[in-house]
Symmetry: C2
Subunit: 204 residues, 2 copies
């Protein structure tokens, strides 16, 4: 494993566990077993390291989401039927968890993302928002079509509720210590439970 990879792997876990600001370069390099200067050599700064981690995991997730949302939008234009809330939300939510569950990447990255919505740290929030907002807008447009009798302001709020619920699933799945309500080992079915919750909640 290259030094660069070792750093990213260690940083991902530490950022997930303790947050960006609380995690020090010394902790990262120590865990990775590399020299303190290596972060600045390979990434330029602590912030650039976070960005690199974010892009590595986030790009494929977002591409999948955009693809699926576009497909739903196209289908609803061809047919004379508006999209359903469920297919819109599934297109957004499923790619997020699919990557995590495939195992290879980002078991810890999930927690960073789950936390990003209520992140007080400007650095983290800006990196996150800049990448997620365009997709959110696509999703919101579809939802407005799916709920023609609901004002755009109300759709915005409902979408926000949905993202809050999703955020808790991201941080909580396999990570009880964060906020343990007990008996949360549904595991495989949780994503469907989440989607069901959101779809019913959004209904007009």
């Amino acid at each position: 494993m290259t030094t660069k990879t070792k750093i990213m792997k260690a940083a991902e876990e530490l950022f997930a566990h303790g947050g960006f600001h609380h995690t020090t370069m010394r902790a990262i390099t120590s865990k990775a077993g590399v020299n303190l200067s290596a972060v600045n050599y390979h990434f330029g700064s602590k912030e650039a390291l976070l960005t690199a981690i974010f892009d590595m995991h986030w790009t494929p997730i977002n591409e999948e989401r955009v693809q699926r949302l576009s497909r739903v939008a196209k289908k609803s234009q061809e047919e004379p039927q508006p999209p359903t809330i469920e297919e819109a939300m599934r297109s957004f939510i499923e790619p997020t968890f699919a990557l995590f569950q495939s195992g290879a990447s980002g078991g810890y990255f999930r927690i960073i993302v789950g936390r990003a919505l209520s992140e007080p740290d400007q650095t983290v929030r800006e990196i996150f928002l800049h990448r997620v907002m365009p997709v959110i807008e696509m999703l919101k447009d579809l939802l407005c079509q799916a709920m023609p009798r609901t004002s755009r302001a109300e759709v915005s709020w409902k979408l926000r509720f949905a993202l809050g619920a999703m955020s808790q699933t991201l941080t909580g799945h396999n990570q009880p210590p964060l906020f343990y309500l007990g008996e949360e080992k549904v595991s495989s079915g949780v994503v469907d439970l989440l989607i069901g919750f959101i779809v019913k909640g959004m209904q007009e």
Copy 2:
């Protein structure tokens, strides 16, 4: 206004805006217009200051919640009818927002609470969890009665989704910069929108 009050007021706003760790004692005392040492003299430490802020706002909210939840539990025992999801959730959610809307206190405290669920900072999380868990347990028991056909594990997850949605409402209300989805000025009706979303989402 006493020095102690001035400090608490300034700290509350800064903690809400930038998070606990990111906020420095210098920023707090400077904003409050008092000396740097005053925090340690009046509270003992930065952490104790946060605890004091938390208790000031949280105690009355929690008392109201426990009172209302107890009333629901008692009623469902006397009648042969289980409680409804709506009355259980209302008993928990409404006191939270009622205090904030009454104006006098904690406009900024709301954001601290809303963020606490996904807080990476151990200090903040522990203060919060220690105070909210008993009430959450009461609420969960009522929800299990309201959803007799749903397993406790599933109720736990649904409750978690609900808290995630609520968290977004707490941070977002009047605080667009955090995560602005646009047109979110429903304001007065947002709490009812939130409760409607949660109740429908939880339905068996």
